[in-house]
Symmetry: C2
Subunit: 356 residues, 2 copies
């Protein structure tokens, strides 16, 4: 097994949002310093990092300088341009590795990978033309949802089909991008597993959380989730299978639909995950420290849950509730230091704790 | 009551050590940014702060620039030169206020203040000459300890007297500085109360911790402390009395000797305190956030203890134990990111938690 990163080493984090911010604090707690790379000014992670580079992912010189200043590189989001990764990986190790990014950056590759492992996903079909789409609808039926395979198309990229005659409009909305048609899954609720794998190959999973979304944004995660003991075991085993297959190092969020026919993988995120924020108040070692431990070659930490927790995101105007929340017992507040409150913007979260 | 500091405000922290570091992280969690002022290079607090000024306390221009960049000023140590405070306080509020610093910077003023409140201290006598010392010994007896009144005399400043004929050597060791003779207290153990007072005058105390020192350095703090219910109440009431008398805003550490004749105040520290580090794993709101809440005009947080904790400092070579500690369950590790391990230097601490 590799020796742990020496004390005082610099960890490079691609992305300066709240996930990078909480990773930076966790890294400091283990004696490391962080260098944040972020195109946007005033990055929340920069408030609690030793160094910040404000530059785009197409700035080769800045990427090189960044990589040369750090000992290992990690990231808070999966949508990092391949060209940037090509430069960075010649200079320093990237953890989690390229394979996890390659798989999670493309919805079809991800689903092929998951079904290749024997895991269940929603029914899906690649779509590169309206003909493909019609063929897909013939197999999968409606309602269904058409999505571009890759993220980051400026908010474009999803169209719902409620009837077979909607293929023209839906395909037009993809603007010619390679896409995937996904069938709807009849699930009772969604859970996620925050799983970690160390440099030595050991795996540790936090207790699954139950997620509630509204308008496409995570609102709450509750632990414990409603799961039978068998489902709980399944959830952990399938997460471990995914991490192992990717030779993964770090924390991953695995979103699962709970159905009578078993757990269906919705998507994977090769990074710390909003649905794992409850670990800050529910475990000795939270997901952020667990990620840093993994990428720095430490043994994974004790992630056993010791409290029931409800994590609530503070989105946009939810910030108005902070003064009242500040007076409530057993509420831990985590604000992200974002300069401007905007509708739909994640401004912070709280963990409501029920002590054992 | 004053409105809370608006989100995104900058908090100035005098001192860039581990206390400043943990204060900066707590401030970020509440949506604030921090500017650290510290004479030494590579300050641990600078790893997790938006801004760092490396300058001496005699650098008037740097002090002014610092004060102008922040909204409120706090500190991680009490030994701030008066001349620096004189400059800073004309520009921005300093919390806790000057009175707390005036009292705690001088051992005689502090003891006069405490006895004036009706609290017990060790017997003491001001000493400005060998004659004073002889008179003091005649009253207080030996063993006793002679200390300079003010801190920061480069490690000089303490001499133990085991017999009355040692006055010459002891007084010589003070190098002419105003001093105080203190009698020994026959105590069973030492506890400390981490107390907070808000801008609105409300007071909240964490459960007292029991401290063990070795070679003059705190080694462990254990909660709960060995105290009777009556002693526990006394400890909290006397801490509240001290904070009220100083019109104090922020967190204070109050060290107490436990004796059959009651609690005797050893000393007060107008800041977050090493013996309060256990609150990071034992409470919803730790001492660092409590301090930031107080100085930022938030309501004080819920400091109820929910776990038994033993805090152990990692001093010097104790760092060699970190790899083993990293594998233990229920151990939270907090390292300070100090560049060099030195004998007697506080490098980090751990909190060993026993869940309820």
């Amino acid at each position: 097994m590799t020796e742990p990163l020496v004390a005082g080493s610099m960890i490079g984090i691609l992305g300066g949002g709240q996930l990078g911010r909480m990773l930076s604090v966790a890294a400091a707690r283990l004696g490391y310093r962080c260098h944040i790379y972020e195109p946007g000014a005033g990055a929340p992670a920069g408030h609690v990092a030793e160094r910040v580079t404000t530059a785009g992912y197409d700035n080769e010189a800045a990427l090189r300088t960044f990589a040369e200043s750090v000992d290992v590189i990690t990231y808070e989001f999966e949508n990092i341009p391949t060209s940037a990764l090509d430069i960075l990986e010649t200079l320093k190790p990237i953890r989690p590795g390229r394979e996890a990014l390659r798989v999670s950056q493309d919805r079809i590759i991800e689903k092929d990978f998951l079904t290749g492992l024997g895991l269940q996903t929603a029914p899906y079909a690649p779509v590169n033309s309206e003909n493909d789409l019609r063929a897909g609808i013939a197999t999968i039926g409606t309602p269904a949802i058409l999505k571009t395979c890759r993220f980051g198309y400026d908010g474009k990229g999803q169209a719902r089909l409620d009837a077979p005659d909607e293929t023209g409009a839906a395909w037009a909305a993809m603007a010619g991008a390679p896409s995937v048609l996904e069938g709807f899954v009849d699930f009772s609720h969604e859970v996620s597993v925050i799983a970690a794998r160390g440099l030595d190959g050991s795996v540790a999973c936090f207790d699954p959380g139950e997620n509630v979304h509204r308008e496409g944004i995570l609102r709450t995660t509750t632990v414990p989730a409603r799961l039978t003991p068998a489902q709980r075991t399944d959830a952990v085993l399938l997460a471990a299978k995914i991490l192992g297959a990717l030779d993964y190092v770090g924390v991953m969020g695995v979103e699962l639909f709970v159905t009578p026919g078993g757990l269906i993988v919705n998507e994977i995120a090769p990074r710390v995950h909003n649905s794992g924020h409850w670990t800050q108040q529910g475990c000795s070692i939270d997901q952020f420290e667990q990620h840093i431990r993994a990428i720095a070659g430490w043994p994974l930490g004790d992630g056993e849950r010791y409290s029931d927790v409800v994590m609530e995101n503070l989105i946009g105007d939810d910030m108005d509730k902070v003064p009242a929340l500040a007076t409530e017992p057993n509420v831990a507040i985590h604000l992200y230091g974002k300069a401007e409150v905007k509708t739909g913007r994640k401004m912070g979260h709280i963990n409501r704790v029920k002590r054992g």
